[in-house]
């Protein structure tokens, strides 16, 4: 997959488009120091679609503003294509930004908005006209050059903001929750559109969002942030399949976080045996007597009425809720260890549900899908 290739270029010997080293940002409010970013290391590769994902207040926007130059780091270094840019004002950084509010110039036409950056740089008139025309074509706004921003729909304003930034051919484009103000349908359409535009122009995108679906859909790599730190950095698949921390497991998708005491070791895995016939295998180094926390994604679990054979994970439980959701059915199962487990079962056949509320069931999954997690 291309994701792994791009992931390698970012950490490899090639010069990173954007690199942050031990970046710390502390704000001062009423004499009190408020840490926003507590030490972030990042290397974003050329042409990569990179997302900073996290809840509000996690430091993702501050991190991006330090890349753009609107905020200066309290400690640490910011490199753009190998040169240290700390202290360089935003108008001298070869980077452009798409703001959450779009921040279009209300007194200028679409054309004037998009041409602003090129005119500031003193690009010749005919070249400005040509490049603005090309860019408006890419974002599908040809014919609306003379409109004022307020005469456009939300989605169109969004595309003007994108064109205004991209027309300058920046080394990297920073996007601060650019789809936040759009309704769901438009947002999904724009996700596909953004990815297409990014492929077309080949510019590094740094995308800030709190929406995990957006990040998973579009990114080559994602940095999940929480409380001023990066919790996990990896491809969408890595982050979804192998969440490194409890926070990541809970923030990305639905996840079952379970814990148990290891009763014995078996090859490269720890085995938990909560009851007769029950067995949970967690790959890792935990030894007998340790309490381990691990996650299993709901769609990896199978629900059946008989005890499963083989060496897989097996757990007994009682169905507390069954919700039919079209493509899959959602089961909530109270296990023998008193934890509630969510299971998604694909509705492959149109036959009845495998279990009903109150039924006694067995849950089973491949040991490869249980992941021990950190704090």
């Amino acid at each position: 997959m291309t994701e792994t290739v791009e992931a390698d270029t970012a950490t490899g010997t090639e010069l990173a488009a954007i690199e942050l080293r031990r970046v710390v940002k502390t704000f001062h409010s009423h004499g009190e120091a408020v840490p926003a970013v507590k030490g972030v290391d990042l290397a974003i590769g050329q042409g990569e679609f990179f997302s900073l994902l996290g809840p509000s207040g996690c430091g993702k926007t501050t991190t991006m503003r330090m890349i753009a130059g609107f905020d200066e780091p309290t400690e640490g270094e910011v490199f753009l294509h190998g040169s240290d840019v700390v202290g360089v004002p935003p108008n001298r950084r070869d980077i452009n930004m798409v703001f959450q509010s779009y921040a279009l110039f209300p007194h200028m036409s679409v054309l004037e908005n998009v041409a602003f950056g090129l005119r500031r740089k003193g690009v010749p008139k005919d070249e400005v006209a040509r490049r603005v025309g090309e860019m408006l074509e890419i974002v599908d706004l040809t014919g609306r050059e003379k409109r004022r921003p307020r005469e456009l729909s939300g989605g169109q304003q969004q595309r003007v903001a994108l064109a205004r930034a991209l027309v300058n051919r920046p080394r990297a484009l920073l996007l601060d929750e650019p789809l936040g103000a759009l309704d769901l349908k438009l947002r999904q359409a724009m996700q596909v559109e953004l990815k297409r535009i990014q492929r077309e122009v080949g510019i590094t995108f740094v995308y800030v969002t709190h929406d995990q679906n957006e990040a998973l859909t579009m990114s080559d790599r994602i940095a999940v942030m929480n409380d001023g730190l990066i919790e996990q950095l990896g491809t969408p698949r890595e982050i979804y399949e192998r969440p490194a921390t409890k926070f990541v497991a809970g923030f990305i998708g639905t996840s079952n976080v379970l814990s148990g005491t290891v009763s014995r070791r078996d090859a490269a895995a720890a085995v938990i045996e909560p009851g007769p016939g029950e067995r949970i295998v967690v790959p890792g180094t935990a030894s007998a007597g340790d309490v381990v926390e691990f996650t299993v994604r709901p769609e990896k679990i199978d629900v059946r009425t008989e005890q499963p054979d083989g060496e897989g994970c097996a757990l007994r439980g009682t169905v507390t809720e069954v919700v039919y959701l079209g493509t899959f059915t959602n089961y909530n199962v109270q296990t023998s260890t008193a934890a509630e487990v969510v299971v998604f079962v694909q509705n492959v056949s149109s036959a009845d549900d495998v279990a009903a509320r109150g039924d006694s069931v067995w849950l089973s999954w491949d040991p490869r899908h249980s992941y021990a997690i950190g704090a």
């Binding site: 753009a68 609107f70 004002p89 935003p90 108008n91 980077i95 452009n96 930004m97 703001f99 959450q100 509010s101 921040a103 279009l104 110039f105 209300p106 007194h107 602003f116 950056g117 500031r120 740089k121 205004r164 930034a165 300058n168």
Partner: protein
């Protein structure tokens, strides 16, 4: 000062006009007439064919006062003083007030609260107090009263009006618009000239018009600090014991028409920009 314009759309699907609506309608017109009557009288007596020193009874229609507009030398000097002071004071308070309004709306700084309070204090302080304290200030400094002290006084009291209108406009702006301009390569001055100023211009204009209106007819503060210089209102005050010549009405009419034109122009500009 302010007339409430009431929207009186005919009530749809309600054939009988209610008494409340009728009363409101009458009341609105009563206020409009009440506000306009003195102005109408002033305009009318500019056309009065009066022969005596007093211009108080209607004698007949004439246009001769418009022809002899500048035949009272002192009055002409006073009008020129008033107009030049008003123009310079407007420009001065527009520039300084805009800068103060921008600072108050955009930044957080030490002394901001105090500056805000001082502004409102300057607006609400009684004019006699302000005039008297300015006079003692100038006397203390040993500055001779005249044209320049009037100008300084006018800039001082109209500054706050510009600053407050600009500040409230700045507060409604999205701060990321300025950031977007910087992000696109504009330096500090270019951001102000190309982005900030065009966006706050309606407020600057409104504040400046207010400053002009305050300056051109100020009497109290001016009289404290004028020395021997006469402005239009001061001349009228001095002359009214002996009867005012109809030229005063004509000049008043022209200032009024000028004001109406400026206000209409402002409304057109504001509508186009919005």
């Amino acid at each position: 000062m302010k007339a409430t314009i009431v929207d009186l759309k005919p009530a749809v699907r309600r054939p009988r006009v209610r008494w409340g609506d009728r009363l409101l309608y009458l009341y609105t017109w009563a206020i409009i007439v009440w506000l306009c009557l003195p102005i109408a009288v002033m305009i009318a007596f500019g056309f009065n064919d009066t022969t005596g020193r007093l211009n108080l009874t209607w004698q007949g229609f004439t246009l001769k006062w418009y022809g002899q507009l500048f035949s009272v030398p002192d009055l002409t000097t006073a009008l020129v003083n008033s107009l030049t002071i008003a123009v310079v004071a407007t420009l001065g308070s527009a520039v300084l007030g805009t800068l103060i309004g921008l600072a108050l709306g955009k930044y957080r700084f030490r002394g901001q609260g105090a500056l805000n309070i001082v502004q409102f204090a300057a607006i609400s302080a009684p004019e006699t107090v302000m005039g008297a304290s300015l006079l003692s200030f100038f006397v203390q400094l040993g500055v001779g009263r005249g044209y320049w002290t009037i100008l300084i006084a006018h800039i001082m009291f109209s500054l706050s009006f510009v600053a407050i209108t600009v500040r409230s406009r700045v507060l409604t702006l999205d701060p990321s618009i300025d950031e977007a301009a910087r992000d696109l390569g504009a330096g500090g001055w270019a951001v102000f000239r190309l982005v900030t100023l065009p966006m706050i211009f309606p407020a600057v204009l409104a504040g400046a018009l207010l400053a002009f209106a305050l300056s051109i007819d100020d009497f109290i503060i001016t009289s404290f600090n004028s020395g021997s210089t006469l402005t239009f209102p001061l001349w009228i005050w001095g002359a009214q014991r002996n009867g005012l010549p109809p030229q005063v009405n004509v000049m008043g009419t022209l200032i009024f028409v000028g004001g109406i034109l400026l206000a209409a122009g402002n409304a057109v500009v504001a509508r186009r920009r919005r």
